[in-house]
């Protein structure tokens, strides 16, 4: 199934990085995303975007995972020529992932 079924997300820019928060709706959902949305899986998912590195942080108290995608914005919002130069739609792009 698609990640969208069990989670929601918000993303944005910081310098050349895209920062994504992924939220489960309950404890079971958190356990599921913690297990299935791994650093490697996210790096593979976004491979075509030229990202150099993915970091993942677990935030169990908020039933959330955080991902930092390094070198995701062609140098940052002020230099990026994509329609989404602020990385706002990476949240949805992550929710497309099959888990």
């Amino acid at each position: 199934m698609k990640l969208k079924k069990v989670a929601f997300a918000r993303s944005s820019d910081k310098g050349d990085n895209v920062d994504i928060s992924l939220f489960a709706r309950d404890n079971d959902g958190y356990i599921l995303i913690r297990k299935s949305v791994t650093t490697e899986k996210v790096a593979g998912h976004f491979a075509a975007f030229g990202i150099s590195e993915v970091e993942r942080y677990e935030v169990p108290n908020l039933l959330a995972l955080k991902f930092v995608l390094r070198n995701a914005l062609e140098g940052g919002a002020t230099r990026c020529i994509r329609a989404d130069n602020l990385g706002k739609t990476f949240s949805g792009a992550l929710l497309r992932m099959e888990i």
């Binding site: 929601f8 997300a9 918000r10 944005s12 820019d13 910081k14 310098g15 050349d16 990085n17 920062d19 928060s21 939220f23 709706r25 998912h45 976004f46 075509a48 975007f49 970091e55 942080y57 935030v59 108290n61 908020l62 039933l63 959330a64 955080k66 930092v68 390094r70 140098g75 940052g76 919002a77 002020t78 230099r79 020529i81 994509r82 329609a83 989404d84 602020l86 739609t89 949240s91 949805g92 792009a93 497309r96």
Partner: protein, 451 residues
């Protein structure tokens, strides 16, 4: 127990300021803080300052003050903003002029010293925060802005002088909100958990409606009266207790989901969210809905502030030209793809020195790129092709911007919705770095201006 209520009046340069007025009239706030500066905003203000040296602060600051100043003054509500951007002194002067015209007596605290552009060549070892690369002479020479993200202290100093408005440049977002809390309760900056609580309040308010149901990922369609969405208010108690709510009789929602979504927004590592005032550890935070549209935040931990300030340097780095054209069913995408091929050939024939030519299909893949779902691609009702080129010079970018025009007649059928000549965009490179605190602190100045 002593309490203070602080409102978040703006979330970015361009945000509506009518809710700030509502807040001042109806919500018993003592302070309203206005966060105006994203990385992209500094770039916009830099272009303004280049055109006119008296510019460089946000253009809607004065119209906003015109709307709210007399009501705020009447109630003793103090306003704090980093709308001064790259020219806080210019913003302060313009505010004084306005007050004079309105027949108001006001006192402004101006915070200066974050702007290091003039001294950049004297600073050494400005290595890139991410890559570790050392800055080049070329970037230093070309730099158009260089600002340190300074903290709450100088704002506290200004508030002690009983000012009505504090105007700053690049003060870090959350610090704008932390300052009045510290001032009200006389907290010490060494009381790390309390400073962290004030910083959390600021972080939750700094993007205005992003904590009250705006840009919300979960069941956004169920949110009531989003056309009348409320702006956020933090109620902070002297012992550090923190409650997040929103303006009275407004739309939107404040709940566990909206608060956790904003709490983690752009923080990278939630165990170490770095601000100039404190390192915030969110790992023990609990959020509890204590009433309708009220969330209490507990378990906030502070750790010592980072050793250095963050500084952002920016420099011109080429141009972007773009051209957009639409096609309708049948074969909409096929037509647009054919046009992409034609345009690429034309660019080749013209020998335009474009560094990077790209095509995006608006309505299909302009956001999710290679991850876009191609299932229904043959039957799309319509599609827009956006051709874009990154160039070293403005002239070439302009050629890209007009390249599609002849194709209205000489390309595939049904070309429509040609979006004219798109303005060329100047691109800016970013150089985030760290700078010794004392180099910045000795330049920080709080100036009181009155009319």
């Amino acid at each position: 127990m002593k309490k203070v209520r602080i409102g978040g009046g703006l979330g970015f340069y361009g945000d509506s300021f009518l809710p700030a007025l509502e807040m001042i009239l109806n919500d018993k706030v003592s302070y309203v803080a206005f966060e105006d500066l994203a990385e992209l905003t500094l770039a916009i203000l830099q272009k303004d300052r280049q055109r006119d040296p008296s510019g460089g602060f946000t253009k809607d600051f004065i119209p906003m003050l015109k709307l709210i100043l007399s009501e705020a003054k009447k109630r003793g509500i103090k306003l704090i903003t980093n709308a001064g951007g790259l020219n806080p002194e210019g913003a302060a002067k313009a505010a004084l002029n306005l007050a004079k015209k309105m027949g108001l007596h006001i006192k402004i605290g101006l915070v200066k010293g974050d702007d290091l552009l003039g001294d950049l060549s004297k600073l050494s070892s400005l290595s890139h925060m991410e890559t570790g690369a050392l800055i080049t002479e070329d970037i230093i020479k070309k730099a158009v802005f260089a600002n340190a993200y300074i903290g709450a202290k100088p704002i506290v100093e200004a508030l002690k002088k009983d000012v009505d408005i504090v105007i700053t440049g690049r003060v870090a977002d959350a610090s704008l909100f932390l300052a009045p809390i510290v001032y009200e309760f006389g907290w010490s900056f060494d009381d790390l958990d309390k400073i962290a609580a004030g910083t959390t309040a600021g972080h939750l308010l700094e993007c205005s409606t992003q904590v009250t149901g705006g840009n919300h990922g979960e069941k956004w369609w169920e949110i009531d009266d989003i056309d009348n969405i409320g702006y956020p208010i933090a109620e902070v108690h002297e012992d550090g207790a923190l409650f997040i709510t929103k303006t009275k009789d407004s739309g939107g929602i404040v709940n566990f989901d909206t608060v956790r979504e904003q709490l983690l927004y752009e923080v990278h590592n939630p165990a170490r969210y770095l601000t100039p005032d404190v390192t915030l550890n969110m790992m023990g935070i609990k959020l509890q809905e204590t009433a309708e549209n009220v969330v209490q935040v507990t378990g906030i931990k502070g750790e010592p502030k980072p050793e250095k300030y963050k500084m952002l340097i920016s420099y011109p780095d080429g141009f972007m030209g773009q051209s957009i054209i639409g096609y309708s069913w049948p074969d909409a995408l096929r037509k647009a793809k054919t046009t992409e091929k034609i345009v690429r050939k034309i660019i080749e024939k013209m020998k335009l020195p474009v560094k990077d030519i790209r095509a995006e299909y608006l309505g299909y893949n302009s956001f999710h790129g290679p991850l876009a779902d191609s299932t229904y691609v043959e039957e799309l009702n319509e599609i827009y092709l956006r051709i874009l080129g990154r160039t070293d010079d403005k002239y070439t970018a302009e050629q890209i911007s007009r390249i599609m025009v002849p194709l209205a007649l000489s390309g595939p059928p049904t070309a429509s919705g040609l979006l004219g000549f798109q303005r060329v965009r100047s691109l800016l490179g970013l150089w985030p770095t760290l700078i010794e605190r004392e180099l910045v602190d000795k330049r920080i100045e709080v100036k009181i201006m009155e009319v």
